[in-house]
Structure formats: structure tokens, C-alpha cells
């Protein structure tokens, strides 16, 4: 569905992504994980065409992502950023419907879709008339997810979607998200630095460090057959405290 072929990127002369080949299979959830600055956010931005690769190509559904094609392609990719990125001047509902109404979709159809999505993400419809500042962090992320899903895109990119949430809300949303992904059958690429989250969501984990993919595989692969000492170190560091280990 979505693939990077020989893609590299430098910012201000610093390589942030070395030549990389990655394909994200349809209807699977892939988690990209690694310490801060490993190039995972750049990876997402390249896939959305928000930044252009220095070498190689990004291919989406058989089509090359270029500055010209990017705008139309973005409408077929849902994107949720860390703090939600909701527009503060619009109600939650307007945030969700902004693009669809701008593209001239019929009002009734749009309203039906909003009701449907509210149910999917488990948010009460009257919350949608609030402004983002009057919503909790978890509610904001649910609205951001609704916005990303509005045009029913086949692909969903999520950049640290749970990063800014407190633990209780985080747990609830995490559980809900797994259900949502399974139900909708989307190709999901989720970026995080949290191993628990990765373990929770991933069909497959891509572990990155300093602009390179170190290993790709299931959690078991990473634990049992680490491709690099850093893989073991990274996984261990996050599971060091047994009280935090997943049951």
C-alpha cells in the first residue's frame, strides 16, 4: 500500500534518514519505534509529501508521491499528530467536517459520517459542539482521529497519538484504538518511542536508530533474535522495571 524505495533525507546537511527501503502492508498495523531523533517523524512527513526525499521515491497505492500529487494523496491518508493538531477556532464538529465541506461533499452525507465516526471513536455527539479547549486530552485525540477518518482513507498515519495523555485516559484510548484498527481494516503506521505501546498495537515493529532501520519483525523476533545489541538494550531499558512490564 505504502512503500519507501531507496529514500534518504538530510536536513541542514545532517542526514536524518539514510537510504531506506520499507513497505507497509495493507490492513496491518506497523509500529515505527526508536529513541528521539531517530528519524521516525521524518519518515511520516516523507510519506505525506510534507517534505521531499533527497533520493529515492515514496510510492502510495502504485502512485509516486510528488509535490504535485501530494495534496490529492493526503486526502487518502488520515494523519493524527501528537497533540491532535485540532484548530482552536473551530468546534470539534467543524474540525472534523472542514475538509469534506470544503470539497463540496453533501451536508447530509457529511453529517451521517460524523455520527458514524462518533460511535466508532466512542465520543458523545454533544461533545462535538465544544471547542477543542473545552475537551480533555483523550477527547481531543478521539476528535483528531475522527478528522483523519472523515474521508474514509485506506491509510492512517499516527505520530505519538497517546504521547500527551495521562495514564488512565491513555489506557482507555489504547484499548479502543486496537479495536478500531481491527474493525476498520486500515493500513496503520504508528510512530512511538514507547515499547509498551508498540507491543500493544503492532502486527510488526520497525525499530530505528539514527536514521537507519535496525530491525523489523514481531516483538518476539526483537526479544529472541535481536539484529543488533542496541535492539536488546532499547527493549530492556523500557522493560527494566518489572512493575511496568505488561502482564
Amino acid at each position: 500500500m505504502l512503500a519507501l524505495q531507496d529514500v534518504s533525507k538530510s536536513i541542514h546537511g545532517q542526514p536524518v534518514l539514510h537510504r531506506t527501503n520499507l513497505a507497509f502492508p495493507t490492513a496491518r498495523t506497523t509500529v515505527v519505534i526508536g529513541p528521539s531523533g531517530c528519524g521516525k517523524t521524518t519518515l511520516l512527513r516523507l510519506m505525506l509529501g510534507l517534505t521531499a526525499p533527497d533520493t529515492g521515491t515514496v510510492v502510495f497505492d502504485g502512485e509516486t508521491v510528488t509535490p504535485r500529487s501530494a495534496q490529492a494523496l493526503r486526502r487518502r491518508i488520515g494523519y493524527v499528530i501528537q497533540a491532535g493538531g485540532l484548530f482552536p477556532h473551530l468546534s470539534a464538529r467543524r474540525n472534523v467536517t472542514l475538509l469534506a465541506l470544503h470539497l463540496g461533499r453533501p451536508r447530509a452525507q457529511v453529517d451521517r459520517r460524523v455520527d458514524q465516526l462518533a460511535e466508532v471513536v466512542q465520543i458523545s455527539p454533544d461533545m462535538l459542539d465544544r471547542y477543542p479547549s473545552a475537551l480533555s486530552g483523550g477527547q481531543r485525540q478521539r476528535v483528531a482521529l475522527m478528522r483523519a477518518l472523515m474521508l474514509d482513507p485506506p491509510v492512517l498515519l499516527m505520530d505519538e497519538p497517546l504521547g500527551a495523555l495521562d495514564p488512565m485516559i491513555r489506557h482507555d484510548l489504547q484499548t479502543d484504538l486496537v479495536e478500531i484498527f481491527a474493525k476498520l481494516g486500515k493500513t496503520v503506521v504508528l510512530v512511538t518511542h514507547d515499547m509498551h505501546e508498540a507491543a500493544h498495537f503492532a502486527h510488526e515493529i520497525v525499530l530505528m536508530r539514527e536514521g537507519r532501520v535496525l530491525q523489523r519483525g514481531s516483538l518476539e523476533d526483537l526479544l529472541a533474535r535481536p539484529a543488533d545489541p542496541f535492539v536488546t538494550e532499547f527493549v530492556r531499558a523500557q522493560r527494566a522495571d518489572p512493575r511496568l512490564a505488561q502482564p
Binding site: L50, R75, Y79, G85, H89, L90, L99
Partner: protein
């Protein structure tokens, strides 16, 4: 409301264009010039020619520029001023002056019958105590503080030449002529410049110093006119020629006194002189009478038009400029600094600069000046409002797949609307104050009362212009605070 103001403005511009068949009379910004301007325009009107008097347009340079540009057809001036200040020559006879003015398409005629020379004066008591009688005596008292009118201070035939001729050691300080008498009375200054027909010389008990070296030339009152005037308005011209020698010095002093000391309006002083009505009409008495005078509504309309027409233009140009600046950091430097240049020019200087540039006086240069002043706060706030939006919101809008234009209208401008509106509000409130300056070039508004009050040293009249301007500024502020409620999205206000 704004649409109505636009209409009004268009009408006033149309009126300006239709002024072809109206004799336009100008005057400078002091009592005598106001009165002579009235006498001239009423004389023409009596001869059946529609005439309009643009009162107190400014100093000599501004009125002369307006005459050259054809915004007015004639104005009263003095031979010495025309010679020394405008032509830079010593001679003051009409023949020489006419030779000098001809290249500009201008001429001088009709000696009104009195001279009004410059002189320096000090309080009689002080003069007696120190034994000062002539200008030469002044040189021996270097401790005297000189407060001179701005124009006198700068003129070729004013202070610089006088200082040289009499070797005066003093450093003079500039202040408005209308305020100088009060400053004398309160002993803030010791010596001021006066016109010999000033009505206040006696009232303030001043001693006029003798020009013992004969430095000041003759300042005979005359009419300066465009050479095409006699052909365009033959009847008016014939009537105006009748004014030759018609006003004596004592008569002029008496008329100045009527205006300045009794508070009679200029048009009534002139009417009294021309004997058209024969009876003096009581001037509006008291402060309230002046504050709510019959011209209040007209001045309010003019003032509102000046403020909002210039503001509308500044919004129409300033917002796109601000957007452009926010898009391109390279352009931002150029745009913001060039828009800022206007702010560094004092308003009166900017107006004086615009008059020859636009070839006209009145509403147009005032609107242009106000427009230029309004730009900076608007452009700067649009720029800072847009560049201050959090990068993650901008990225969010792009990632959503919104085209650039939709991002600007649906996301960026609404989020920056608070800052943008604040910039517009700043411009509007500053404009209300700055618009009072427009009266110096005959654009009307509350400034008209301030300017006239200054010229007459009439504090009540001055306040009756300043107070409505201040009230209007507050109203404008409130108006924008209200607008904010429905323009700035609710989600941004909590």
C-alpha cells in the same frame, strides 16, 4: 455606515472636481488672513460669482503650493513675504514681484491699503525696566528669552536674517503664534514676534521695538492670484479691484480685535466690513455653544469620513501585504520597513510633502497621509499574527490536504484574527487623533476648531475640537471591542 461615508466622500471629491466654476479663495492660518479671505470671497459672491473660502489652509508655503497647483485661485499675502520668502528677492514693488511670479502663471495685484510688517515686542513693563526701545537695544540683553512663531523662525525674511542684521546673541525657541501671547503674559518668554496689525498688542500691553536698521521690508497686503483668474471670473475680478486701498491699518486692527477679542466669527467680521448685513450677529456664546455649534454634524461627518475611508483603504492594501510578508521572510523585511517609513515623517511635514506631489489640497492629501499612517500597525499585526501560529497547526492543515488558499481563509486568517483586528483598532484610534491635523490643509474635521482656536488663542474653541476628537477615539475603541466579539472565533477567546 461605512457605505454612507464612502458616498459622502465621493460627493466631496465630486464637489472638488466641479470647483471649476467656483472661485476658490485660500487663506493662511492667522486671524487677519482668515478675515481677508472672507472679505475676498464675499466680495466675489456679491458680484454674482460662486465663491468658496478654504480657511486657514496652512503656512505660506502650503498656501502658495495650493495656488500653483490650482486648488485655489487667489489668497491674500504681503509684498515682503512674496519677495523675500517666495521669490528670494529684496524688492517689494508690484512690478518686480509680478515679473518673478509670471513663470509660475501667477500675479500680484490690489494693494488693500494697509501694511502689516513683522516686529518684535516685549512687555511694556519689562521694556521700561531695561530701557529697551529698538531692536539694536535687544543685543545688549542676551538673557532675554525669545519665543518666535515657527514660520518666522524659518523664513528668509524672519529670524535668521534678523539675527545676522542686528548681531543678536539669542537662541530663539519656536512656538505657535497663537500661544505666544499667553506665554508672554505668564512670563514663559520675554520677546515674541508680532504682526503690526495684531489686535492683542494693546491688550497684552506690549512695546513694539523699533526696526532702527530698517531690516524688515514693506509688508503691504495684496492679493496673489492665478493669471487665468481675470479671464475666468471677469465680474469677480472687477469687484476685487475695487478693494484697492479700501482697508486702512486702523480698520484692519479693529477687525482683528473683533475676531480675536470679541469672538465674532470671521464671516461676520467680513460682512460687517462690507456692510452687507449692517448688524452684528451674536457669536455662539460660551463653551457649550461652541462645542455644539451648528458645524458639529458637518465636522463629525468629515472626521468620520477621513478616519474610515483611509482605514478601509489601509485594510484593503495592508492585509494582503501582511500575508505576503508572512509568506516570504525576504519580502517581509522590505515590506515592513518601507511601510514604516511613513511613520517616521511628522504628520504636518507629510501633508506638506503630499500637496505638491498630488497637486491639490484638502481631503485627498489628508486621506493619503492617514492611509500611509494606518498601514504599519495593520501590516505588522497581520504578519506577526500569521507567523505566530503554531507550526503543528500549519502542518495539520497541510496534512489534511487543504489547498493553500483554503488554509489561509479557513485556518490561518481566523486564528490570526485577534491580532489582525488589534492592528486595525490601533490604526483607527490613532487615525482619529491624526485626522485633526488634516484641518491644516483644509480637509475639515474636528481639527478645524483646533486650528482656528489656536490661531485665535481661543481655548474654548480649541477644546470644543479636542474633546469630540477624544470622545470619538473612545467610541471607535469601544466599537472595535464589540466587533471583536463576533469576528474573533469563540474558541480563541477562552
Amino acid at each position: 455606515m461605512i457605505a454612507r461615508l464612502w458616498l459622502l466622500g465621493c460627493l466631496s471629491l465630486a464637489a472638488e472636481a466641479a470647483a471649476q466654476d467656483t472661485l476658490m479663495v485660500g487663506s493662511k492660518r492667522f486671524t487677519e488672513s482668515y478675515i481677508l479671505g472672507e472679505i475676498v470671497s464675499q466680495t466675489a459672491a456679491a458680484a454674482g460669482v460662486p465663491a468658496q473660502h478654504r480657511q486657514g489652509m496652512g503656512n505660506t508655503a502650503i498656501v502658495f503650493e495650493a495656488l500653483k497647483a490650482g486648488s485655489i485661485d487667489l489668497y491674500p499675502d504681503y509684498t515682503g513675504t512674496i519677495g523675500r520668502q517666495l521669490l528670494g528677492i529684496e524688492a517689494t514693488d508690484l512690478e518686480t514681484l509680478n515679473r518673478g511670479l509670471r513663470p509660475f502663471g501667477l500675479g500680484v495685484a490690489v494693494k488693500l491699503g494697509f501694511g502689516n510688517t513683522y516686529a518684535l515686542a516685549l512687555l511694556e513693563s519689562e521694556a521700561q525696566r531695561r530701557g529697551i526701545r529698538t531692536l539694536s537695544d535687544l543685543a545688549r540683553h542676551p538673557d532675554l528669552r525669545l519665543g518666535l512663531g515657527h514660520e518666522f523662525l524659518e523664513r528668509n525674511d524672519g529670524w535668521p536674517g534678523l539675527k545676522r542684521a542686528y548681531r543678536l546673541p539669542h537662541t530663539a525657541r519656536g512656538l505657535d503664534h497663537g500661544l505666544a501671547y499667553e506665554a508672554m503674559a505668564q512670563r514663559q518668554i520675554d520677546v515674541m514676534d508680532i504682526y503690526s496689525t495684531d489686535a492683542k498688542i494693546e491688550r497684552y500691553k506690549l512695546r513694539v521695538l523699533e526696526d532702527d536698521l530698517r531690516y524688515f521690508p514693506e509688508y503691504d497686503a495684496v492679493l496673489v492670484y492665478r493669471l487665468d483668474l481675470p479671464d475666468r471670473f471677469p465680474a469677480a475680478w472687477a469687484a476685487l479691484r475695487e478693494l484697492d486701498g479700501a482697508i486702512g491699518a486702523a480698520q484692519m486692527i479693529a477687525m482683528n480685535a473683533q475676531a480675536e477679542l470679541d469672538g465674532t466669527p470671521f464671516d461676520q467680521v467680513a460682512r460687517g466690513y462690507l456692510g452687507a448685513t449692517g448688524r452684528a450677529i451674536d457669536p455662539p456664546s460660551g463653551f457649550l455653544g461652541k462645542l455644539l455649534g451648528p458645524d458639529t454634524w458637518r465636522l463629525t461627518q468629515q472626521h468620520l469620513f477621513l478616519v474610515f475611508a483611509s482605514l478601509a483603504a489601509a485594510v484593503a492594501i495592508g492585509v494582503p501585504l501582511g500575508v505576503w510578508a508572512a509568506r516570504s521572510p525576504a519580502a517581509a523585511q522590505v515590506i515592513i520597513s518601507s511601510v514604516g517609513i511613513a511613520q517616521t515623517i511628522p504628520s504636518l511635514a507629510l501633508l506638506a510633502l503630499l500637496i505638491p506631489l498630488l497637486g491639490r489640497i484638502g481631503t485627498v492629501p489628508a486621506l493619503v497621509a492617514l492611509f500611509l499612517y494606518s498601514l504599519l500597525p495593520i501590516v505588522r499585526n497581520v504578519h506577526s499574527g500569521l507567523t505566530g501560529i503554531s507550526p503543528s497547526l500549519l502542518e495539520s492543515a497541510r496534512a489534511l490536504g487543504l489547498p493553500a488558499r483554503a488554509r489561509l481563509w479557513l485556518v490561518e486568517l481566523p486564528i490570526a484574527s485577534g491580532a489582525i483586528l488589534a492592528g486595525i483598532k490601533t490604526s483607527a484610534v490613532i487615525n482619529v487623533g491624526t485626522a485633526t491635523i488634516a484641518a491644516f490643509v483644509g480637509a475639515g474635521g474636528y481639527g478645524e476648531r483646533i486650528v482656528t482656536g489656536l490661531a485665535l488663542n481661543d481655548h474654548q474653541l480649541l477644546l470644543s475640537g479636542a474633546i469630540p476628537a477624544a470622545v470619538l477615539a473612545l467610541l471607535v475603541q469601544w466599537f472595535f471591542d464589540l466587533t471583536e466579539r463576533w469576528i474573533v472565533p469563540a474558541g480563541l477567546r477562552c
